[in-house]
Symmetry: C2
Amino acid sequence: MSESSATQQRLATVQNHLQVASCSAEEPKKKTPVESMTEERVKATFNVRDLTYFLDGGEKFTKIREKFMMELERDPTFRMYDMYDVTKDEIRVRTMEKFRTIVHYVSAEPVPIFTMRMQTISLIDPGFWTRFGVHYGLFFGALRGSATSSQFSHWVSKGALALNGMVGCFAMTELGHGSNVAGLETTATFDEAADQFVIHTPSVTATKWWIGGAAHTATHTVCFAQLIVRGKRYGVKSFVVQLRDTKTYALLPGINIGDIGKKMGRDGIDNGWIQFTNVRVPRTNMLMKHTKVSRAGEVKEPPMAQLTYGALIQGRVAMVVDSGNIAKKAVTIAGRYAAVRRQFSSNPHEAQETKLIDYAIHQYRLMPLLAMAYAFHFTGVETQKLYDNLMDKIESTQPNDASMTDVLDTLKETHATSAGLKAFCTWSTLNAIEACRQTLGGHGYSAYTGLATTYNDFAVHCTWEGDNTILTLQSGRYLVSCYREALAGKKQPEGVDYLNHLDTLLNQGCAVKKNEDILDFGIIQEAWGVVTANVVKKAGDDFETSLKQGMNPEAAYEECSQARLAAAKIHSFGYVFRRFAQAVGSAPEGLKAVLTKVCLLYGLYSIEQNAGFFLQYRYFTPSQMDYVRHQVNVLCRAVREEYIPLIDAFNLSDYMINSPLGVYDGDIYEKYFAQVKRQNPVGAPHPYLPLIQSLLRRDIEDDEPLEDDEDDEE
Amino acid sequence: MSESSATQQRLATVQNHLQVASCSAEEPKKKTPVESMTEERVKATFNVRDLTYFLDGGEKFTKIREKFMMELERDPTFRMYDMYDVTKDEIRVRTMEKFRTIVHYVSAEPVPIFTMRMQTISLIDPGFWTRFGVHYGLFFGALRGSATSSQFSHWVSKGALALNGMVGCFAMTELGHGSNVAGLETTATFDEAADQFVIHTPSVTATKWWIGGAAHTATHTVCFAQLIVRGKRYGVKSFVVQLRDTKTYALLPGINIGDIGKKMGRDGIDNGWIQFTNVRVPRTNMLMKHTKVSRAGEVKEPPMAQLTYGALIQGRVAMVVDSGNIAKKAVTIAGRYAAVRRQFSSNPHEAQETKLIDYAIHQYRLMPLLAMAYAFHFTGVETQKLYDNLMDKIESTQPNDASMTDVLDTLKETHATSAGLKAFCTWSTLNAIEACRQTLGGHGYSAYTGLATTYNDFAVHCTWEGDNTILTLQSGRYLVSCYREALAGKKQPEGVDYLNHLDTLLNQGCAVKKNEDILDFGIIQEAWGVVTANVVKKAGDDFETSLKQGMNPEAAYEECSQARLAAAKIHSFGYVFRRFAQAVGSAPEGLKAVLTKVCLLYGLYSIEQNAGFFLQYRYFTPSQMDYVRHQVNVLCRAVREEYIPLIDAFNLSDYMINSPLGVYDGDIYEKYFAQVKRQNPVGAPHPYLPLIQSLLRRDIEDDEPLEDDEDDEE
């Protein structure tokens, strides 16, 4: 080949290469992800900032939350971008590092402000929230709730409040015993001669289990154990027991502790197991605000044991609030992705694929979850108020006050309401997280998109501090008891107001004249009232029948447990709708229109999901139910128009969202890719190169398999 | 104190200690966990072994499965007890180690036997199943399905079958494109001068994403790209592209690959991203069984593009089968736990707490899931048969055969059925895993109880190889099209047989004279037939209305997507019930009674869950629906009597269950504790001792806080 023809050929090849390359760039102009997001924001018919203020309870609180978010984002110990890749041990070390910052705020901030800070932290780092909550919520809370004032002062002086010199955990559940606290096996036997209690784990199933902070952190615990004095059992009481030397962290004699190990989520908290082998503590380590044991071994039981339940309620209220917050986070990620992600084309004249959110089915998957997040937000606010009101009453009332009956009624109501809502909201939110994750398609399976971890972290809410099924049954039991009281003529509280109108509701047909009437808060509320009254009546009547057949009340409750479960669930739907509708009523004028749409969607979607009951009790006819179904689709489409502004109003910063698919600006692909590359650098060492080389080298060294050939020749 | 009085006091103290210790041992005699389990096994009214044989398709297959389970258990590379604690990188190394064993069986075993082996592996190690499946199912499957026979021989000679010298992956999805394969951006531009294709990634969103095995394992890929010849686009075709040097594993020029990183589950598979920058491959690397590009750049398109779908179906059938298997595993763990775990007491005369499984509500949570596991098992068997039948037909038919229409009909039916069932069964199973996990209460949150990992591993089934929502919509579209064909008089296949009786079914009231009639397979089947016919009609009519309003078919399908989704879901319930009822019909006499109970429970529970539709279309009256609800409880109680034998019949060894809470002998607490201690040895180094010491030492060095005091003094 001559020099010039070689040159010519090289030139032709170069031209050809360029031609091929330009060929790939023939695509029509398309909207970028950022443009796809931006165009959603101009659709708002309301002022987003105003809605944020309304949700937060005023501009002042929005500013405080924004301050918290910024402080967290800039705190190096709260860096979160790499959390999806760190090991269990690393997460635990990091969780510990954060204590220093947060302990500072415990003393510097008033309780309601600090509570808001912790709510914010729960959204981004639920593992830390738990580790911290174990000391302040459970251990310190037990001291506050069950110690006498001099005992309380003693432990505060030891550093229980300042986290100076001691840190606590809460040893209630055992390997073989969870929900039934009365069935705990650990014993606290009074040794009169020594004026001590002997704390003992009599069997493997009595091993304290799941104890948050026990594995590596706690120096002390509040241990729940069967009180035994002079051979007689007095039930489960609580005792402060030191576990470790506070300087060396060596376990004290008689204490055996291990790590529970890997969990579904929240690995930041070091759950452990504890066995006590004849561990002696001074008598005064028993928390004696309620039951007392004297030096002489006399046991004095409290007049009002119910009041000790107050502390349980607090955790459940926190979980209702957390449900709303986590639902907002999940919906933000899924919602923003759906505004940017394009797939197939619903319009052949469109050069670009269609946004996910423009598909009817995607709207149907997502819009009701957005409505639910709003509903749970308002429910959380109201539940918190209910709880605060209860605490005020309890603190301002003495056991012998005439108003004590009222306090006990409020306690009963708040206890049942918070139990039912804890179960209802955490279940619904867990399902919503998974539903949101699935709307991300394959990307939902990446750890970096955040929802898998959110699911795994959140799931524990369904079983701890009261297993959801048991709590729902308790709520159902409360409804049955209210129903029976109402039949007997006693006025029932607002939460179950429909029981005050049983005569009307049970005989009431649907008030709807024409289908359009259904689009009305009053009608929806009435519909829930009628259906709930019927479902509760069913449970109550089943209970009554069993009693008449000679069963004892416990057996009768057991017999109607399925009906109780249904009653509690239906009750919760109606309850949450009422809270939402009420909030819309009190919203500023400029927000009413949009919130009304969202609230109607929540109400009608819930009815559609429970259509069986509405048809069963003939509140709606089949054709009205078809109308409800149709309107759910119409409302999904209507809410879709403003759904990005509705999400923006949640006002969660990109740091809080911690998902490249949920970023505010919509630049999801670049940010997702950047995240994946940052966490998994190209060119990192190959984790199993020799293994795969030796697998594939079987024909590299010699094309013919060695062994067989040799065998053949033998 | 004198020596003797000191001795006396010591003696008194010793006695006192002993007394206190003996005090703790006063408990009444209780059944051990093992005894609690054993008593369940005597309740069987059937021969468990016979049921196992029936499920497996005969004793011979049971023996084969048992052989597999034993081989896996004894293979050190398949040790699984510590899988919940290993890191992502460790899991990947282990997954690679297993290749050697399994590659051996690929060549040693006939395909159906090897398929059974892989089904077994999927139950214990889904990550490995995926990594292996990527090469044999996807990469090699693509060669088999899309290569010409000479191309196929070429790649086999290179080691594609024996995994000698090459290992493949499957580069279809891109960062910005998943379900819509036609929308992929990667280009394969024909360079006629060089007789090569230029494979190129034109943008970030075109980056191949989620590619299993790409990050560290694959040397070659089948890459899906837009075929461009002489500037004209011919749609997406597939091309073999080498990624790495098969000896050094260095990336080839133009190839950029990274690790996708941490996922929700299945970390054993190294998903990666790939960017091609003007990578050249010979023209013959395009797989040309269907579309062909000649040396001169002529493109010849295939007459029967539909036939290429066959390969897609296989994966979906595998997931239907996997759903049944994983449901069995989940139910085994939850079911055995419920036989042993005791909580509260439903009977005051009983010294011991009540077994979970003796609570009505626990039966209601668990028994329908057990019934579902059976239903999905039989559905899997039948779906596999449908698929095998299709493949036989395709292989024995030439494109011009007269029977080709029949083949295409079968293809259409199998495609739609497997799509709908894949979505239905994977969704239901995912929910069942979570429901089972929650029945373990707090322990369900431990990694060692297995269900959290099972959930995380299984979840991907809902989005890969066809997103569930999209598949359900496709199934709904098929139903609408069958409905329209049926209206036009064309006979429909068995799967949608109810459409052959529209006239009867749509006008049919309930045939039930007295409530007890409902407990009949025929009635339940009719009930599903009537309701499904109505729901499909609704979708079909909505579609028709839209067409009449002038919409094009695509827009009309989009308009009725919510109705299609509902139709597909309801159709699947009825379909699965029919498969189950059919299997009961063919069961040996000794098994019929127990299977009938389980099948009735599945049928009635599904009706209860969809009560709205049965009331809407007035097949059942509200009072009949109350009877259905009541019977579900009755059947739950009846199935509960034999549920441990029913679980035992699944015949999964403890190794396969890999959960101390699901062990056969019921000794759950000892084994759980042992597992936790083995994985988290007592006395292991403290992960953050200095951190916590410095936190608590603020008052160790000096009781008064330093800074404040000094500030005060200034």
